[in-house]
């Protein structure tokens, strides 16, 4: 069976290590997930339902925000993620500078 690579245990997406076709099953850690759309190698698939406005986690950190709700097994990329890098960096930096 094809696999999805879970980069960090707290992530809500896995990475395709080979091209996955719509309807194919993949193994992510010990779970079997049915992939809903074609996912090219190196691209991301949701391993749980993620609601609109929730963060997408990869490498154990938020990498962007969902602009629509997705189901487990959905393909995740620029079509449903908003890049909020500036906002994330600015808020973290403000917090970091404030902390004692």
């Amino acid at each position: 069976m094809k696999t999805g690579l879970l980069v960090d245990p707290s992530d809500n997406v896995a990475v395709a290590t080979t091209m996955i076709e719509a309807g194919e099953k993949i193994k992510v850690e010990n779970e079997i997930i049915i992939v809903n759309q074609r996912v090219p190698v190196g691209h991301k698939v949701a391993i749980k339902d993620i609601n609109k406005n929730e963060y997408v986690y990869k490498y154990g950190v938020p990498i962007g925000r969902m602009n629509t709700s997705v189901r487990k097994g959905d393909y995740i990329h620029t079509h449903n993620i908003t890049d909020v890098t500036e906002e994330l960096c600015q808020s973290y930096i403000a917090d970091f500078m404030k902390e004692d």
């Binding site: 690579l5 190196g42 950190v61 890049d83 500036e86 930096i93 970091f96």
Partner: protein, 384 residues
């Protein structure tokens, strides 16, 4: 604690190789330096500069040449100058003399021409080779080992496998008392908060934030756009990277989980072991960064490349790692390590420990593919 076998130098550092280099001070002397190296075991260090340059750039090239000679892996040096150039051969010669390293000097205008200079150069290198054969390796703790970490020629596997495996290796080098140098600071924006949180203390964290804020501002000044506006690139997106945080996190994976001790500048050595950031911002090829690692005394660099880059360095063996199992097969002639095992299901800590062992073996004398292929690049970081 693990040990490695190296050659003790007069300044207390330990080389993992006994390289002999032929250094040209100016473009006009480069051909002679190459001819000497072709007929001996020496490695040539040449460049297209050395005259008619701004003081700032001339100083950068001079620093790059001096630091090449100073790298612990260099046993001895032959300096080749023309005689009327901006970068004075005497100055390089005296610098190496001051390090108590064997050094010879040839000035083409004083030797009677290129043929005479080449003949003399060959004689000098042969003499250095004979003398270097007397040197014996001794056992050293990892506090004398500095390893650079870098990536280039990336694909989807670089962040997932190549760089995460390097990160696991970084942790082991640091845990065993060694030094790791991370650069590619132009790739920090998007994860500067994560890097800052790795800092050993608040001051270092603020230094990191300030460095990234400055380079973000410089980018806007230079290009009239923010880094976010041009990143990720269309190529990144085609490879599956959606946001700048995601792109940037893949880069900093090479740092592992170790604490960042501080930031050093190009040409500086670390004050004490641990994980350090080298602030090399010169925009250019991958070899700007590898060369700046060598200039800070790194004896080797772990370099991950998903697509496959043949890069090497004139004074430092590169350990070439690919996270792509396919590339490991098709470009095996340039690869030392298969981190693609992670893609096929192996655990990152296990593969990372194997890479750590490989680095120690290379330090002990195992020849790398970059050396075997004679990829002896040396690209001194400078402004365009």
């Amino acid at each position: 604690m693990d040990k490695f076998l190296g050659y003790l130098r007069q300044d207390g550092s330990a080389g993992i190789r006994n390289y002999i280099i032929v250094v040209s001070t100016v473009q006009c002397a480069s051909n002679v330096a190459i001819r000497i190296a072709e007929q001996t075991i020496a490695i040539p260090i040449t460049h297209d500069f050395g005259c008619m340059e701004s003081k700032e750039n001339s100083d950068k090239i001079k620093l790059g040449l001096m630091k090449a000679c100073e790298n612990p892996n260099v046993y001895g040096v032959v300096v080749v100058g023309l005689g009327c150039e901006q970068i004075d051969a005497d100055e390089i010669y005296n610098y190496v003399k001051g390090l108590n390293k064997p050094v010879y000097k040839i000035v083409i205008q004083e030797e009677g021409g290129p043929k005479q200079s080449i003949a003399k150069g060959i004689e000098y290198v042969d003499r250095l080779e004979k003398d270097s054969e007397q040197e014996q390796r001794d056992s050293f703790g990892l506090e004398k080992l500095t390893v650079g970490v870098q990536c280039g020629g990336s694909d989807w596997s670089t962040a997932l496998a190549g760089n995460t495996v390097i990160g696991a290796m970084t942790d082991l080098i640091v845990k065993n008392g060694g030094t790791v140098l991370m650069s590619e600071v132009e790739g920090f924006p998007g994860s500067e908060h994560v890097v800052a949180e790795k800092a050993v203390n608040k001051e270092v964290g603020i230094d990191i934030i300030n460095m990234v804020t400055e380079l973000r501002e410089d980018f806007v000044k230079e290009h009239g756009q923010t880094i976010e506006e041009v990143n990720p690139t269309p190529g990144n997106k085609a490879g599956g990277i959606t946001t700048l945080v995601e792109k940037s996190m893949g880069n900093i994976k090479k740092m592992g989980t170790a604490a960042v001790q501080g930031i050093i500048q190009v040409g500086e050595k670390v004050p004490y072991p641990g994980l350090w950031i080298l602030d090399c911002r010169a925009q250019g090829p991958d070899s700007f960064v590898t060369t700046s690692f060598a200039m800070s005394g790194a004896q080797t660099t772990a370099f991950s490349t998903g697509r496959g880059s043949p890069l090497g360095n004139a004074v430092m063996p590169l350990v070439k790692i690919t996270g792509n199992p396919e590339t490991y097969k098709t470009l095996n002639s340039i690869m030392d390590f298969n981190a693609g095992r992670v893609i096929l299901g192996e655990d990152i800590p296990i593969v990372g420990e194997d890479l750590y062992r490989k680095i120690i073996e290379v330090a002990d004398g195992m020849i790398t593919k970059s050396e075997d292929n004679m990829n002896f690049d040396y690209t001194i970081p400078r402004d365009n």
